[in-house]
């Protein structure tokens, strides 16, 4: 006979139950995100946009991964599809991984060592944008770069199916090889993944979510991967929301309004300047501010006048009022002044600022008198200088400020604002004879070389190419030797290597191939129902860990 139990008895039963875990309490719901536009292909080995790396970080896995954690802990490398992070062998030329057992792709097939080997061949077959720069050190990569369709990586990637082992052989020691394996371009895909850009068709992955819908005009949707079983909380924890839905097409203004009204859960675009005050005051609890491992800087072309003159370059670095630029960026909560190449938080960063009123460790004030004197000494006063900026409202404001500053120190300065879509490639191509431009750089992985070597290394300079990220055209053999030494040292003594990188940072800063301006801070606005906000330096907001109920 059914009957009602007394309330005191129910309470007693409840007290005997174990407390519900967070995973159960907050599991479920749909995270609704807004961004003005899609970021291109959803092929994880091709797309090089931070916005989609955020997606790939919870839909795909590599052999290793960056820990899904906030702050500096998020830069730590942990084993992902590999059982452990191997110690380098053969003087840093060989890495041997053992693949975890029982991990399945989102189509149900188990991940095998052949999938890993095929994925690395696919990096070259699809001409991944980092195939040369990140993975070009694997033995056999040279041939793959020349003939991508016939890529075998013979001698570079060996597998032992019985022991579930994958062995990488490098042509030369690369202390950052493991970091590069943690990036989405090294995601493990099924061996039969087509050797071409899949565009809008999702490939099976191993993460807690799979892409179920992608229309670049309207939306991207992630749903739970039915075959996912958590194997490492550090590398790839199970997700909380049942689905993650990206909507494209709204303006940033409208996105902010929707999140304020609770119609969506997060704005992934830059918050418009005229809404910052409002969200900072009325929605402070929903705002998350995170310093980024990034710099905003002015590359100066060291190969053409007037900035082929060291004094002219130093003059610009001295003249910039970084406090004014911080204010233009939205105030001290949103940016901090910087004079050196390596941003705070990156290994090898040691505070250094020679381009300020009182040179030392931090920027205090511009030194216009010194800047004018340097321009006079350089003999470049009066020369025509054209600054290239992006044709965005913020880019235009910065351009106008910098034009005024360049005129103040003695140049016939002009500004050319060009479409944001082409500015980055335009300023890289030496055929355009860009003298000075505005740019920004964000880490690919947390290593000093990703700033110093990538932005100012001789190997990053490619004349007449749209892909010459050493925009300054800077190439100094002494510094190049120091960087080689630091790379070699990192295999055996990372601390000593970081000290050497700090010296390289100072040396390059002193030669001023670029005037570094700021460290930008990211601002993310979320709805009131979002909890457990975790922001990683690597992949921004870790969406899988957000609570929406």
């Amino acid at each position: 006979m059914a009957g009602r139990l007394p309330i005191w008895l129910l309470a007693g039963f409840a007290a005997l139950q174990p407390p519900l875990a967070h995973a159960q309490l907050h599991r479920g719901g749909e995270l609704r995100l807004l961004t003005h536009a899609a970021s291109g292909t959803i092929d994880p080995q091709i797309n090089y946009e931070g916005a989609f790396w955020q997606v790939f970080s919870i839909t795909y896995d590599g052999l290793v991964a960056f820990r899904k954690a906030a702050g500096p802990a998020g830069n730590e490398l942990v084993p992902d599809l590999a059982e452990a992070i191997p110690a380098p062998q053969d003087g840093g030329r060989t890495y041997r991984f053992r693949l975890r057992q029982g991990v399945r792709f989102s189509d149900g097939r188990e991940v095998g060592v052949e999938d890993v080997a095929a994925s690395f061949r696919r990096i070259f077959r699809v001409s991944s944008p980092t195939s040369g720069s990140f993975y070009g050190g694997i033995v056999g990569a040279d041939a793959c770069l020349k003939q991508p369709t016939d890529c075998t990586l013979a001698g570079g990637v060996a597998v032992d199916a019985a022991r579930r082992e994958i062995t990488f052989h490098l042509a030369a020691p690369d202390p950052e090889f493991l970091l590069k394996l943690g990036l989405p371009h090294a995601a493990v895909l099924p061996a039969d993944a087509p050797p071409l850009d899949v565009g809008v068709t999702p490939l099976p992955g191993t993460g807690p979510y799979r892409i179920t819908r992608y229309d670049p005009q309207t939306a991207l949707r992630l749903e739970r991967n039915p075959f996912f079983r958590e194997w490492s909380k550090a590398a790839q924890p199970e997700g909380y929301p049942d689905a993650i839905d990206y909507q494209f097409g709204l303006s940033a203004e409208a996105e902010v309004t929707e999140v304020e009204n609770g119609q969506a859960d997060g704005v992934l675009d830059t918050i418009p300047p005229d809404r910052l005050g409002e969200i900072g005051e009325a929605h402070a609890a929903q705002v998350h501010i995170q310093p980024e491992l990034a710099i905003s800087y002015l590359p100066m072309n060291t190969r053409i006048p007037p900035f082929n003159n060291l004094q002219a370059r130093r003059a610009v670095a001295f003249a910039i009022d970084r406090a004014a630029l911080v204010k233009l960026a939205g105030g001290p909560a949103l940016a901090e002044p910087l004079c050196q190449i390596l941003p705070p938080g990156l290994p090898g960063h040691e505070d250094y600022c020679p381009f300020t009123k009182s040179p030392g460790t931090h920027w205090s004030a511009p030194d216009l008198d010194r800047a004018r004197e340097l321009v006079r000494q350089s003999g470049t006063a009066g020369q025509r200088v054209t600054l290239i900026t992006a044709a965005t409202p913020a880019g235009r404001l910065m351009g106008e400020y910098l034009q005024e500053l360049l005129r103040d120190i003695g140049y016939d300065a002009h500004v050319n604002s060009i479409s944001n879509n082409i500015e980055f490639t335009y300023i890289q191509n030496t055929n355009n004879n860009v003298q000075i431009s505005t740019s920004a750089w964000m880490e690919d992985y947390p290593a000093p070389s990703d700033f110093l070597r990538v932005l100012f290394g001789c190997a990053s300079f490619h004349p007449s190419s749209d892909s010459s990220v050493n925009i300054s055209g800077f190439c100094n053999q002494a510094i190049e030797a120091e960087m080689d030494q630091a790379m070699a040292l990192a295999i055996t003594d990372p601390d000593a290597a970081n000290r050497l990188w700090a010296k390289v940072d100072r040396d390059i800063t002193d030669l001023a191939p670029a005037a570094v301006l700021l460290v930008p801070h990211a601002v993310v606005l979320v709805s009131t129902r979002v909890g457990n906000f975790i922001y990683s330096d690597q992949f921004r907001w870790i969406l899988s860990q957000a609570w929406v109920q």
Binding site: E253, D274, R275, A282, G331, R396, N416
Partner: protein, 318 residues
């Protein structure tokens, strides 16, 4: 002209235009003597005295997380009368300077456009034959492009390196560049009607009589055809100038028109684009100025047409 001045709407439009022209022409005087600021110099970290208090021109958010800065709003004093823009520059002074640039470009482009269109229209219409066939097809080709698409395409190409025409080089940030682009794109809109008018005039009795008595072509063009074409141009001039002003504003808004440090109403609207929530006046004020000028020019254009072609009004009344 008396007929135009009897039209009250036209009179009001002329007065509004004259007032705006005078105000814009006096921009340097306003900046120097009234506002006491340099509208081309940023004032990001500066302060001004308002009612005895030092006030930051770009004000940090006062509470909460202190995110963002907001330019000072209208002070209703001589300095920063309408407030500041995103770089802390006096909006009222920039508005006047911007008006000078916008009106100058629109006016110069109108003159160039009318001159070239008249030349092409008359040559094509009067000489006919192969000359007409070539020129008319060229005009058709230009006409076939959507006008703003053509303007944007030309501007994007020219803005990176300027314009080189033989020995003549126009710098990318020269005002002559938007003048040239805008003048070219509207040529078919004027040249085609003029060509048609010249073809019609050629068959008129007085032109046939002039040809009959052996008058040279230049004399027929100057004495018999140009006076008629001039009335058409008088009607077209304000209308084309209104179109030119809108085009200049659009190009400058897209960063492919007037280049810094020069300002135009289009660039000021762009400056205000990211201040719409906090300081809408930065975008609204130049927008309002554009509306005023365009309405005034269109009203004047209508008045010219009515005055020079009385039958048009009769036809309009049915």
């Amino acid at each position: 002209m008396r007929r135009i001045w009897r039209d009250k709407a036209a009179l009001l439009a002329a007065l509004v235009l004259a007032a705006l022209l005078v105000a814009c022409a006096a921009a340097p005087l306003y900046a120097r003597l009234v506002s006491g600021t340099d509208p081309f110099r940023s004032n990001i970290t500066g302060t001004i005295m308002l009612d005895g208090h030092a006030t930051q021109v770009l004000q940090p958010s006062p509470g909460g997380l202190q995110l963002g800065v907001t330019p000072i709003g209208p002070s209703w004093h001589a300095q920063y009368l309408l407030g500041a823009d995103g770089l802390g520059r006096d909006l009222a002074a920039r508005l006047l300077y911007g008006g000078r640039t916008s009106l100058l470009i629109a006016g110069a482009a109108t003159l160039c456009c009318l001159a070239l269109a008249t030349l092409l229209g008359i040559v094509a219409g009067y000489f006919g034959g192969i000359v007409d066939a070539i020129l008319a097809r060229l005009l058709d080709l230009l006409w076939a492009f959507p006008v703003f698409l053509l303007a944007i395409s030309l501007s994007i190409v020219l803005i990176s390196g300027g314009l080189q025409l033989g020995p003549l080089h126009i710098e990318a940030d020269s005002l002559a560049l938007p003048v040239s682009v805008i003048a070219v794109i509207f040529i078919p809109y004027v040249a085609r009607p003029i060509r048609g008018q010249v073809i019609t005039l050629q068959r008129s009795e007085f032109v046939l009589a002039a040809i009959g008595i052996g008058a040279p072509s230049w004399r027929i063009l100057a004495r018999d055809i140009m006076p008629h074409v001039a009335t058409t141009l008088a009607v077209f001039a304000p209308l084309v100038m209104a179109l030119n002003l809108l085009t200049e504003s659009a190009l400058s808004f897209l960063s492919i028109g007037v280049q810094p440090p020069a300002a135009s109403w289009g660039t000021i609207i762009q400056d205000g684009q990211e201040l719409l929530y906090t300081r809408p006046l930065v975008a609204l004020a130049p927008g309002l100025a554009i509306v005023l000028v365009v309405v005034a020019l269109n009203t004047l254009g209508d008045a010219f047409r009515d005055a020079l072609d009385p039958q048009a009004r009769l036809r309009g009344r049915g």
